[in-house]
C-alpha cells in the first residue's frame, strides 16, 4: 500500500501559493479533494485537486484555486468597546452529502456555515426582464416564452447558510463537527457549547470551567475535539497540560470528566516557564479513535485512550529551544500555538517548528525527519532535502545552528490528506503542498 512506503525522504512540491495575508488555518475535506485555508484577513481560499486526465497525466494531483470568499469581517462590540478580529481561527469541513460542499469557519466570536456550490448553467429567456436584468416594460411584451437553462462558464459561489453567534464571551479556539453530522461544538477559553447545525439561535453549554471568582482562575481550555466515531465522546485540553475525555451521556453538563490524561511534571525541568511550555496547543484524535495526540511547546505526545497516567510516546520537536525559553518569552514566541496532524493510517505524525521547518515522526520505525518549506528549496518537482539543526560543537556544512534560526518564520498550521501522502504546510503567507514522489 502506498502510504507504507518510506515517503519521508521523497517529497516534491505541488503547489506554492502566496496568500494576501498570514494563513491561520489549513484543512483538507474528508475526501482530500478540497483544501481550505483561512487567513488573518477573514478570507477563505479553497483549492481543488485536478482530476486525473489522460491528456495531461503529469498534472494529476495538483491543486488549483477553486473558490475565494470573505468569511468574516472585523466587528466592533460596542458594549465592551472591543474590536473583534476577523482572523479565521479554524475551518472544519462537513461530510459531503450532495453536490455542494459545506464548511464551518470561525473567528474569535462567530461560527459560520458556508455552502460552496458550482453553477454551470443559467436560466435564459425571462419574460419580465431582459438579458442584462433590466425590467422590461410589460406593455412591450408581445409573446411569452419558457425560460430554459443554458450552459455557462463554471462559476463557484460561496453563500453563508448559517451564522452561529452570541454564544461565546471568550475567544473561540476550536470547532469540531460531530460524527452524527447533526451537531458541532465550539470552544472558547472557559466554555464549550454544543450546536445543532440547523439551529442558530440556541446552543447548549456542555463544559464550563469558569470559576465563580475569576481570581481563582488557574487554567483555560486550549482545544477540543469530538471522537471520530463515538458521537457522545469528546476531549478537551488545558493550559496546564492535561486532557479530559468526556461522555455526553453521563450528564448534560460535562464538568466531570470520564478520563483525565496528565503526565507528572519532571521536576528537573522546572523553570519560570514550565507552565507555559506545558500548555497544550492542539489535540487530535487518531483516525482510528484509539489514540490522542497533543502538542505542547517542545513536544508532541501520543496517548492511548486506555492509559491516563502517561503518554504512549513522546517526540521532541525542537528540544534545543529548552535553554532559550527566556528569549522566546521576551519575543513572544513561547506563546506560539503549533498544531499537529496524523497521516491517514495513523502511522506518521507531523508538526511545525521555526525557520519554516516542519517535522515528521514515523511511529513504527521511530525515524524522524526535518523538512523546510521555502521557495528556494521547493521548485516544482524538486525533492526536499532533510534538514538538521546543529545544537552545539562543530557545525557541519548543511546544518544550521540554533542561533541562526529565524523565529519569525514559523509553521503553525499543517494538514495531511486523509488517505494519500499529500501534505499542506502554511508558512506565514505561503501555502505549500507536497506529495510523495511515488504518487
Amino acid at each position: 500500500e502506498r502510504y507504507k512506503i518510506d515517503f519521508l525522504v521523497y517529497i516534491k512540491a505541488l503547489l506554492c501559493s502566496v496568500a494576501a495575508d498570514i494563513i491561520s488555518t489549513v484543512e483538507f475535506n474528508s475526501t482530500g479533494e478540497l483544501l481550505a485555508t483561512g487567513d488573518k484577513g477573514g478570507r477563505v481560499v479553497v483549492f481543488q485537486r485536478e482530476q486525473e486526465s489522460k491528456n495531461q497525466p503529469h498534472r494529476r494531483g495538483e491543486y488549483n484555486v477553486y473558490s475565494t470568499f470573505q468569511s468574516h469581517e472585523p466587528e466592533f462590540d460596542y458594549l465592551k468597546s472591543l474590536e473583534i478580529e476577523e482572523k479565521i481561527n479554524k475551518i472544519r469541513w462537513l461530510p459531503q452529502q450532495n453536490a455542494a460542499y459545506f464548511l464551518l469557519s470561525t473567528n474569535d466570536k462567530t461560527v459560520k456555515l458556508w455552502k460552496i456550490s458550482e453553477r454551470d448553467k443559467r436560466p435564459e429567456g425571462y419574460n419580465l426582464k431582459d438579458e442584462d436584468g433590466r425590467i422590461r416594460d410589460p406593455t412591450t411584451i408581445t409573446a411569452l416564452q419558457v425560460p430554459v437553462l443554458r450552459p455557462m462558464d463554471l462559476m463557484v459561489e460561496a453563500t453563508p447558510r448559517r451564522v452561529f453567534s452570541n454564544a461565546h464571551t471568550y475567544h473561540i479556539n476550536s470547532i469540531s463537527v460531530n460524527s452524527d453530522y447533526e451537531t458541532f461544538m465550539s470552544t472558547d477559553d472557559l466554555r464549550i457549547n454544543l450546536w445543532n447545525l440547523e439551529i442558530t439561535n440556541r446552543s447548549f453549554n456542555i463544559v464550563d470551567i469558569k470559576p465563580v471568582n475569576m481570581e481563582e482562575l488557574t487554567e483555560v481550555i486550549t482545544a477540543a475535539e469530538f471522537h471520530p466515531h463515538q458521537c457522545n465522546t469528546f476531549v478537551y485540553s488545558s493550559s496546564k497540560g492535561s486532557i479530559r475525555l468526556c461522555d455526553m451521556r453521563a450528564s448534560a453538563l460535562c464538568d466531570n470528566h470520564s478520563k483525565f490524561f496528565e503526565e507528572p511534571e519532571d521536576p528537573s525541568n522546572r523553570s519560570f516557564f514550565s507552565e507555559i511550555i506545558s500548555s497544550i496547543s492542539d489535540v487530535k484524535f487518531s483516525h482510528s479513535g484509539r489514540y490522542l495526540m497533543t502538542r505542547d511547546y517542545l513536544t508532541v505526545k501520543v496517548w492511548d485512550l486506555n492509559m491516563e497516567s502517561k503518554p504512549l510516546e513522546t517526540y521532541q520537536v525542537h528540544d534545543y529551544l529548552r535553554s532559550k525559553l527566556c528569549s522566546l518569552y521576551e519575543n513572544d514566541c513561547i506563546f506560539d500555538k503549533f498544531e499537529c496532524v496524523w497521516n491517514g493510517s495513523d502511522s506518521v505524525i507531523m508538526t511545525g517548528s521555526y525557520n519554516n521547518f516542519f517535522r515528521m515522526f514515523d511511529r513504527n520505525t521511530k525515524r524522524d525527519v526535518t523538512l523546510e518549506a521555502s521557495r528556494e528549496n521547493s521548485k516544482p518537482r524538486a525533492i526536499l532535502k532533510p534538514r538538521k539543526v546543529c545544537v552545539g560543537g562543530k557545525r557541519r556544512k548543511d546544518e544550521i545552528s540554533v542561533d541562526s534560526l529565524d523565529f519569525s518564520k514559523k509553521i503553525l498550521h499543517t494538514a495531511w490528506h486523509p488517505s494519500e501522502n499529500i501534505i499542506a504546510v502554511a508558512a506565514t503567507n505561503n501555502l505549500y503542498i507536497f506529495q510523495d514522489k511515488v504518487n
Binding site: 465592551k80 472591543l82 474590536e83 473583534i84 478580529e85 482572523k87 474569535d108 464571551t169 471568550y170 475567544h171 479556539n173 477559553d189 472557559l190 471568582n213 475569576m214 481570581e215 481563582e216 482562575l217 488557574t218 487554567e219 483555560v220 486550549t222 493550559s239 521536576p267 528537573s268 525541568n269 522546572r270 523553570s271 519560570f272 516557564f273 507552565e275 507555559i276 500548555s279 529548552r322 535553554s323 525559553l325 527566556c326 518569552y329 521576551e330 513572544d332 506563546f335
Partner: protein, 274 residues
C-alpha cells in the same frame, strides 16, 4: 545574585506584556495573560525569596524573625531530616512556641510563606543539579552557573552579602550548617508547596480581593488584582532596596516597569486603573 537580576528582568518583561495586551487588537487574550501572570508570580517569588533567604539569618529584625517562625511551624509538619537543622534553629529561634507562630503565619501576608517555599524549591534544585549547567540555567534562565552551583563555597551570594551587611554573631563556622538548614527547610517545604499551590494561589488572590467586573464580561480583572498584590508586596521590598545595588542594575525596555521599583505610588495607581 544573577538569578535575582534575571527574575527582576522577567518581572519587568511580564508586566510590559500585560500592559501591552490592553491595546492589542481583538481584546485581551485570557490564555496569554494567565500564562504571563504565572511567570510573573514565579519570578516574583524568586526575586523576593532571595531577599528573605538572606534576611532570615538576621534575628534582630522582627520580620526576619517571623520567617524563622514560619519555617519552624512548617518544619513541624514534616519530620526533620538533619540534626544541623535543629541545632541552628535552636540558636536562632526567638519564639519556640509553635501555636502563636502558626497564627502569625496565617495572619501574615501569604506571599511571604509562598515565596519562602518557592525559594526553597529553586535553591534545592540549584544544589541538586550542580553537575548540570543546563538545569541550573533553567531555574534562573541563563544565569551563569558558576555563581550558584558549588555548595562548598558560600551557600549563596545573597547570604554572604547579607551577613556582611548585617553584623551578627554568626561566624564563618555557621556557613555550612546554614546550607544544610536551608536545604532541609526547602526539601520539606517543597512537598507542601507543590501540593498546596492551588490553594495558596487562591489565598493570595482572595486576600486582596477586589470587586470583579460584570460576570459575563471578559473577566481579566484577576490579572490586575495580581498586579495590585505584587504592588503591595513590593512596598516592603522598596524600603530595603537601598542596600542592594542590584536593584539599579537591570534596565528593561519598559519605562513603566522600571518606575515600579523606583517609585511605587504612581504605579499602583495605574494598576488599579487597569
Amino acid at each position: 545574585m544573577e538569578y535575582k537580576v534575571e527574575a527582576h528582568r522577567i518581572m519587568s518583561i511580564s508586566l510590559g506584556k500585560i500592559y501591552n495586551s490592553r491595546v492589542q487588537r481583538g481584546g485581551i487574550k485570557l490564555h496569554k495573560n494567565l500564562l504571563v501572570s504565572l511567570v510573573l508570580r514565579s519570578a516574583r517569588q524568586v526575586y523576593l525569596s532571595d531577599y528573605y533567604s538572606g534576611a532570615c539569618l538576621n534575628a534582630q529584625s522582627e520580620r526576619e524573625g517571623n520567617e524563622w517562625d514560619i519555617t519552624d511551624s512548617e518544619r513541624e509538619k514534616f519530620p526533620p531530616s538533619a540534626t544541623e537543622c535543629d541545632r541552628v534553629e535552636s540558636t536562632e529561634e526567638t519564639q519556640p512556641n509553635e501555636q502563636p507562630e502558626k497564627e502569625r503565619e496565617y495572619r501574615e501576608n501569604d506571599d511571604e510563606v509562598k515565596s519562602d517555599q518557592v525559594d526553597c524549591t529553586s535553591t534545592l534544585q540549584e544544589q541538586n543539579q550542580n553537575s548540570s549547567l543546563d538545569s541550573v540555567a533553567k531555574v534562573s534562565s541563563e544565569t551563569p552557573p558558576e555563581s550558584i552551583t558549588e555548595p562548598k563555597e558560600s551557600p549563596s551570594d545573597s547570604a554572604v552579602a547579607e551577613r556582611d551587611s548585617t553584623p551578627e554573631a554568626n561566624g564563618e563556622s555557621h556557613q555550612p550548617p546554614k546550607t544544610h538548614v536551608c536545604s532541609n527547610r526547602k526539601r520539606s517545604a517543597e512537598e507542601s508547596e507543590s501540593g498546596d499551590s492551588p490553594q495558596k494561589r487562591t489565598k493570595v488572590a482572595s486576600s486582596n480581593a477586589k470587586e470583579d467586573e460584570e460576570a459575563e464580561e471578559m473577566d481579566t480583572s484577576n490579572v490586575s488584582n495580581l498586579i495590585t498584590i505584587f504592588g503591595s508586596s513590593f512596598s516592603g521590598l522598596l524600603s530595603k532596596e537601598s542596600a542592594k545595588p542590584e536593584a539599579e542594575a537591570e534596565d528593561s525596555g519598559q519605562i513603566c516597569c522600571d518606575q515600579m521599583l523606583k517609585n511605587l505610588n504612581p504605579w499602583s495607581t495605574a494598576i488599579v486603573a487597569f
